[in-house]
Symmetry: D4
Subunit: 252 residues, 8 copies
């Protein structure tokens, strides 16, 4: 729905020429296609407003609902991404759309019939094996948004020579996402080697006094580096989304 059409519609209602029920129906059709199964609404206008289609958060939704959202987006010529999907949900999507791609470690499933033009580069850094699933979610999100990605692993703070060896790869990104659990010190250290924004994603990896990732979260919020911002614990999607948004608008 173009701004002009919207303005005329609202003006009509304001002048009394148009009933509210009519306005409601047209807005609903334009902005929020009702997907019949499971009463989920999908915001098809999001692509226009924000530059990317709505992303489905899989937890608590039925497989049928997710498939229905994907179908509505396909109809509208949009790409689709669902995060935190179970194996059953992923399989249901792949059966409905054989060209969908599932990443079981990242717990994502995506459908990209018209891939975005590649623009910008997101570098993802992680220290150990256990943080890998969150890092994969970062990567899947950034790729779906049209960024190149590079995953640098095994660069824990207690083995400093490893990080130094990867310095060039870190500096090649327009934005860096650091995924770390335990003491969450890696973002501060990485931030000292780069001159672009660092998005820190704390993970719930650890035990005891890590408080389900809260220790890493607090550590990252208190980083002595000026170029570190933080998202929620295990929020790989958010980390990837922000980094890709920054990278795509970068002229570097």
């Amino acid at each position: 729905m173009s701004p002009d059409v919207l303005q005329e519609l609202i003006a009509g209602w304001q002048r009394g020429d148009v009933e509210w029920s009519t306005v409601d129906a047209r807005l609903r059709a334009a902005f929020a296609a009702t997907v019949p199964a499971e009463d989920v609404l999908v915001d098809l206008d999001r692509d226009h407003r924000c530059g990317f289609p709505e992303v489905v958060f899989g937890v608590g939704k039925s497989s049928a609902a997710i498939v229905a959202v994907f179908a509505a987006q396909v109809t509208a010529g949009q790409n689709s991404l669902a995060t935190r999907v179970s194996p059953e949900q992923a399989e249901a999507v792949c059966q409905a759309f054989p060209d969908a791609q599932s990443n079981s470690m990242a717990r994502t499933v995506s459908l990209m019939r018209t891939p975005p033009k590649l623009q910008g580069r997101v570098v993802v850094v992680t220290a150990g094996t256990s943080d890998r699933p969150v890092a994969e979610e970062v990567i899947e999100t950034a790729r779906w948004m049209g960024c190149e990605t590079d995953l640098v692993i095994d660069v824990g703070v207690a083995g400093p020579h490893r990080l130094i060896a990867q310095r060039e790869r870190l500096q090649a990104g327009n934005a860096v996402v650091v995924v770390a659990g335990m003491e969450g010190a890696l973002p501060s250290v990485v931030a000292g080697w780069v001159s672009v924004p660092v998005i820190a994603v704390p993970t719930s990896v650890g035990y005891g006094a890590n408080l389900g990732g809260f220790a890493a979260l607090l550590s990252m919020l208190n980083s002595c580096a000026a170029n570190v911002a933080v998202v929620n614990i295990d929020a790989g999607f958010k980390g990837g989304y922000l980094a890709a948004m920054i990278a795509r608008q970068s002229r570097l």
Copy 2:
């Protein structure tokens, strides 16, 4: 110190041609000019590595030390910024450098003899009077880094028409910084109106169950909007630094 000089120096030490004490002295001179008063070291190489000179965190430093850092930066042809300065610290700097500029609400003092080329626009949003000092720190930081800034005030979530009225100003930024205390809901609401990164700065404004800003911090970390990242409570400097870094590298 150019990379070639550095490499030759280190190679010399590695071949045994140069004593470690010599290397140490030259690195110290190049990277960390010792400011005699108060034993503070200033990292004059930061400008080269990160694109911006080192910023002084005023808390716990003597006025003499801050003046000494500014003097060293002036000598090196760099700009200066100090945050969280007391009135006494600010006055000492302004007496030493009459062209320094002090913002008592932001608690900053800066010296910009060679202003950076203007590039990028940071929009700062805040709800009420009490969050203003943190917002001012955001603005001073972003300006010092060479960004245009726009401050939008009085757009609390409970008065929605006000925010809508400012929509155009919000959308004109390459990055938006939202400064909010109490329930910290404003970043989520603002994020729904823009398609650029939103940096959320929780403030300690509030009472009772706000837990010194922790309620706002948690709220922002749990934002349902994908384009919101968070910095520490009252961290106006960090919010401004990240937003300016994003805005300056933006091609929008």
Copy 3:
């Protein structure tokens, strides 16, 4: 038991005409009918004192005990409601009372042989699919107490145009219940559009730094809107009870 009878009984005991055991027995008969199965006592006088019969909290009770409470209330001519019931508990009640109504999403089962006169209107607002079960508990409670209800879904704070579109429905209530997890910002935003009390129900929906719903709870307690009060996390029953109490006594 009428006040007169009660006063005479107590006065008799105070004068020494009546044994304590007699008083105890009569009070027990009047106020607390002993349900033999499972040693649960049901307070049949609650309806007289508070305007509504006692509501059964299903957790930790046997199906037989819940059926017994319903039976005692039926005998006393009262309506029945049980919350947080398991599918097994609900089925047991429905087998014993074929006219009972079970809502599996709300986890409630109710029996209304003499429905209350309809009075007042409670509007329930929620943002996403996951908060739906708590919202259903709100609705079942409010309906059982004799209020009209209206459920407004999909009005998250990050999609502001949706909320605006529903403004009229919000303003039609005598009380509004807002059910929200994650950052819990919705009550503040809704409160800006209505002039009636808003009861905020935080939910445990979210992950990481949401701390099992505590982030949303704190956010709601710190709301900058004056007309927001809060109940416990996931406490749909309480939210519905208070809103219905307010709506029923409203002359609007």
Copy 4:
């Protein structure tokens, strides 16, 4: 500004007949009178939208700013209330408006040139001397909104006969506000004696494990009584506002 005028204005802008700057200026004049001193904006339209004028939160504002807000409201024919004011702020208001009334215990100052029609009754209950200031803030707020108030003191849970003696006064309210610190048990006990909504206001009165009022807050949120909702710690204003809103719309 009437709805018709507003609609025409916006429609004009949407049709391109009116510049945004014009719209902005007129909306600003109508909705938010700029008070020159201290850059505070006052929302004069609030009275129309919500039924009560905007209330000033005194913390962090200059005396001049508060006086300026009162003056703007007087000009608009509205009543004024400021909470959490210091003695200096209160005195400044009383000097500017000799008919203003200051309550130093409640930390409020108000100006009521056209008192609202009396409607509804709010009963305020508190246990001890230390909770009195918060209770006074409740009362000042409820009175300013046009409710009768009754303050019941010295009814701590550990002295049960006192509460019983006051039962009739409790039951005479359309809403009850219970102000309590320490273990915060009083709302649950009071709620058992009344059939109207109870608004619980936890206070920071206590020491050690009371955690600045958090112990009382948690206790109230977990109340086993169905008719208890909670506001922020020490939030006398909110408690009074909600209770008065309920009481004024009550037909009891």
Copy 5:
């Protein structure tokens, strides 16, 4: 081992007449009989020092170990009690000692071949069905220590007439144990009706902001009544132990 024997043994070692290994062996035999199965040591001297035999905490022990401890105590002419036992552990004990008594709700199993002389009375108060298992653990402990017990149920704070009706039973105890979850207000209310020590046992019954019983714990620690002390969450054994210790030494 009598004090004289002990003193001579230690003096011998101090004079060098006795090897440490000998001392160790004799102390071990006297104070800590090694139970072969599972390497558990049982302190048979506890009965002499503290007035009661050692009580077995069942969690993390094998059934064989518990049976072995009971056997050692039987041999020494002592009574036995195990708490927090699983059904399997209880059954193993009952098979080994057919006169053992198991209480599945309390999760205890005991063996009392020489019951202590009855002395003192412990009254246990609880509000609802869910707190019952903890209350049963209180009772089993107090009975095992030789106290009469009385269990008063269904006296929640929100139904004040019920508590008043039980006043006489409360006042008949030498110590009162109040078991309560949710807001934990019951101990304060009960304490106002009695003049003996009240031991408060918070339970983990509740949801949301009850924080696994922490809300009740904090409430009880902040009780405005002077005669309330608190034990750990769900610590029925401790509550019963302390109350029985007080009751047995009481001359009332």
Copy 6:
């Protein structure tokens, strides 16, 4: 007021022979003498119900109010105790009653014109200099209630020989109060040497991770000794009150 008079009064009201205002006035006169200054009420019936007169909590009360309470108690032939009094409050009481006794370290002032018969012995144990004020409050309270007291100092857990040297003094009490800050380990250690109830009073002495006494509080609640109950942080009055209550009813 004797029970008979009370019963007749209430019966009269129940029969309608007596106005509520009359009942209220007579109850007020009997149970709660209104002290004119500062609107404080004093419960003169407490002595009859609980065995001890009401104790004044000094925080937030004027000196005049405390003096007035003492005067009312003197008139009624009761003893007086005020805790947490400032030097000014203590001096005001001592000027009004020259035979009052003030303990500046304990922050108490008391007046005992008819000392209670000595009965029972409370032993108070503390580790270091900083916990002394809380220990003094314990002692003043226990003495005022008529118990002998013994203060054992300098028995920190890290110097075990000191505690052993004091074993006999510990075992001479009918109840032991252990006052400890920092890690709060002393109650567990003391409890192993005695066979009477141990009341643990955590103090806010310490720094860093002691969290204002919370570390000691948690430690005490988790004590592996069965005979330890806990009161609030710094709650010397409560610790002394409970111990004295236990000691006075002890037949040991």
Copy 7:
């Protein structure tokens, strides 16, 4: 890789004689042998830098990956240790290396083809059965590093004579590790008997207010003894590692 080789390699790259890809490959080969299965990297240079080979943290790794790490270490002539292994992981290692040793209580599996020279003695102290698994992890780690170990059990703080009886064994260590849950008081008490460093390992053993081991952790951090340092909750590996490091470098 010797320092000389490393320096020449880097110097070559700095002079431009060597490509970065070559440097990277050689460093990778020298410092981090890529284990093909599961993409785990093993740092074979750790033995040279830190004195001990890398230890595998089993959680989240496949059995194949652990076997592969062991195989790489065997090839390099190094010993192997894996902690927190599941029974399946342990069995897979033992099948691959029949001379590997598994400790199911400690959840470790180790392979020591060239055992280190025995040096130093680590004493491990614990109070009860439930802390045993963590103590076993301490012992396995210290033994693998070449220390003698001694395990002292059943020395809870509430049974002080037991600890005294073991004094000589405690004093025979070069470092003492104290493993304790519940109130965590044991390290303070043990520290008073020895003059060597005490490493405190809090465990998650307990319930209710122990907060998953946090109560013990806080207690240990606040120890009044000067010679106590703390590691993470349940961190038996860390406790053993530090103690063995201290013991091996001790000349006592």
Copy 8:
């Protein structure tokens, strides 16, 4: 008091030859010299048992008491150290003992008439100006115990080249103490460069979500490096004590 004398004394008491009062008096004289002023006891035997004299914690003690402890230690031929002293306390000690040495930044005062033989080297590392006072307390403590010390400053994690430049100094210590606030990441990074124990001292330096040093504390407890143990927040004395204890017993 020699062990022989002690054993004879106790044996005498055990045989009944010596009264307890005599034993008590002699032990008191030997182990705990009563310093008359302020009732502080000083443990003169500590030097014998633990290798170092007792250290005075200045908080809450009078200047006279500290002087008295120093005097008693001087008489006994022992050295003295007081920590956390105010300027007034330090001056009083220096007036009484002109050869005492005060460090106002470290808040210590010491008297070393017979300096210990130098043995071992403690390296102290810190990142910024604000952590300096805690680092000074570490140094004063380690020196007083007879260790060489080296203070490495300005090595924050975000400026990695600085730390690398100081590697040799780090590796020269027998133990390393890392003092850090904010995110507390420095200990993990330092631990990767050394093969000796690292004692981490979190400081309360920072703001907002640093929670008074708790963020740094949690970060250090969760360190991924195996050779890091932690002490309380701002506990410079403990950090220095443990490191010196390790360094003095080191044969490296």
